[in-house]
Amino acid sequence: MNTKKTVVLVCLLLGLAVTLGADSTVLLNAAGATFPYPIYSKWFNVYHTEHPSVQINYQSIGSGGGIQQLKSGTVDFGASDMPLKDDLLGQFSFKILQFPTVLGAVVPTYNIPGVQAELKFTPKAIAGIYLGTINKWNDPEITSANAGVNLPANDIVVMHRSDGSGTTFVWTDYLSKISPEWKSRVGSNTSVNWPVGLGGKGNEGVTGLVQQTPNSIGYVELIYAIQNHMGYGLVQNSSGKFVKASLASVTEAASGVAAKMAQDLRVSITDAPGATAYPICSFTYLLIPVKISDSAKRDNIKTFLHWMLTTGQSQVEALDYARLPKAVVAIEEKQISQIQ
């Protein structure tokens, strides 16, 4: 009887301990894009160290997931690489504000046994690969841009996203701009009807698939390719130059749009003009409700946004994301005051 009593007591105490969480902590839950996940993960970690009473739990489930969960009200804010157009905004029962956070690049990463060189991809090559019309690595469209590289006659294994993804949106947005066939056949969205290929979950999943599958190609955010030591190709931009994704080339792509963003922060910077601009990059956005009833949450979100635009920006380049243009930062600082 004694042991039974002590067991029950211990269980009760454990239960109590586990239930009485640190209730003074402000807990924010967010979900969305995997594109900026490495920098968000870093930010929320650093922010928590600087503000121990605030915990921002971010689950990287893809931009589609971020949008949907924000719509259902199950998270406090969302994250998406795809800016929300008015028709999608109309589906929300409340108004939201979109805050660009960083600039990132989507790169074609590949795993070809025996090929160490950096490959050059023309827009036609990428479109053909993803449409399924180009299916061998030694196709003339690819070899003509890569003289001197011994490309094998192997089948190309195409990887794409299996979940609703903003990275997919950026990729397909670019493809729609440079390939009329893609635009009419597939279109651009967070989730599309892929003509060919296998699906991986999240940027993490696609990186994993390409890493483990010989002769494969996939599209991932730059930092995923770098962190996993995988080769990624150069892409030919609208000026005809083959450009490698880098801080400089991404910043260049965004340089023309700062003025436009004063009207509307939702812009597409794929296939941007500029000799040194990388053609497949994007802003990524935090989706914040305009009205936040919980005052603790509201104040902390606003404080975080200020932090993100100042201290946070100084940390992005270490992870190969480009900083927001100064003009955009100024526009966003003003937008923060709209949150009530």
């Binding site: 969480g21 993960s41 739990n57 689950q59 009200g73 991986g200 993490e204 994993g208 962190q227 996993n228």
Partner: protein, 284 residues
Amino acid sequence: MNRFRLLWRKSLNVVMLTLTGVAALAVVSVLFLILGYLIWNGGKSLNWNFFTQLPAPVGETGGGMANAIVGSMKLLLMAAVIGLPIGLMGGIYLAEFGGKAFSFAVRYTADLLNGVPSIVMGMFVNLLVVVPMKGFTTVAGGIALGIMAIPITLRSSEEFLRSVPVNMREASLALGASKWRTIASVVLPAAKGGIITGMLLALARVAGETAPLLFTAFGNQFWSPGWKQPTAALPLVVYTYAISAYPDWHRQAWAGGLVLLALVLMANIGTRLVLSRGGAARSV
């Protein structure tokens, strides 16, 4: 002719019987292969950090699964609170009180519930709990797991209650005890061992479920205080890490898998040993 045919039949006999032995051996060796792989790949990552630290930011090495382990325990606690009483009480009803038609309905629907694919259960609890509560919570995850634990608990409770000999009940009634008193003081204690093992098996089964947690518990980088916040869980983290590209995450996935499997197997082995010693051994 006859002799040839006899030889053929005899050799066929030996060959086929040997093959059946090989089949059994092959299946059993899969279990050891799984264990071996997990121990080999996960064992070296099981250190103090793994059990006590929170996950590190994406891409950085180090960190651990402490919050996932605690999260799983909380979810199991919730599942036990929800699923086990319903299963036990339902089992008592079916074994002691049940009317024919209603009992049939209860057993039938419990079977139905048992057959629900775990992903559909997750969707159901999401629609029922997460969306109205406007948030992913440990409660929702616990409810999903708890509902999944009901059919197993129900069936094993009923079985072990029924296996208590009739003369024990009649002796109690003859001494003047009422029915409920008989159940509480005589039948339940007699069936106690089997019932508890049934409950542990149910919990071990739901502890490894991932799909129902995808849309209910959701996951958490940090500690999840209380019950109304999203929480990390061991199977969820193993899944997320396994499909990624980071070698450090792979390493941790193996370790997490090992911990999960060890817990599930220990529960299964422990309960079945207890059952077989008690003499009543029935597979669920």
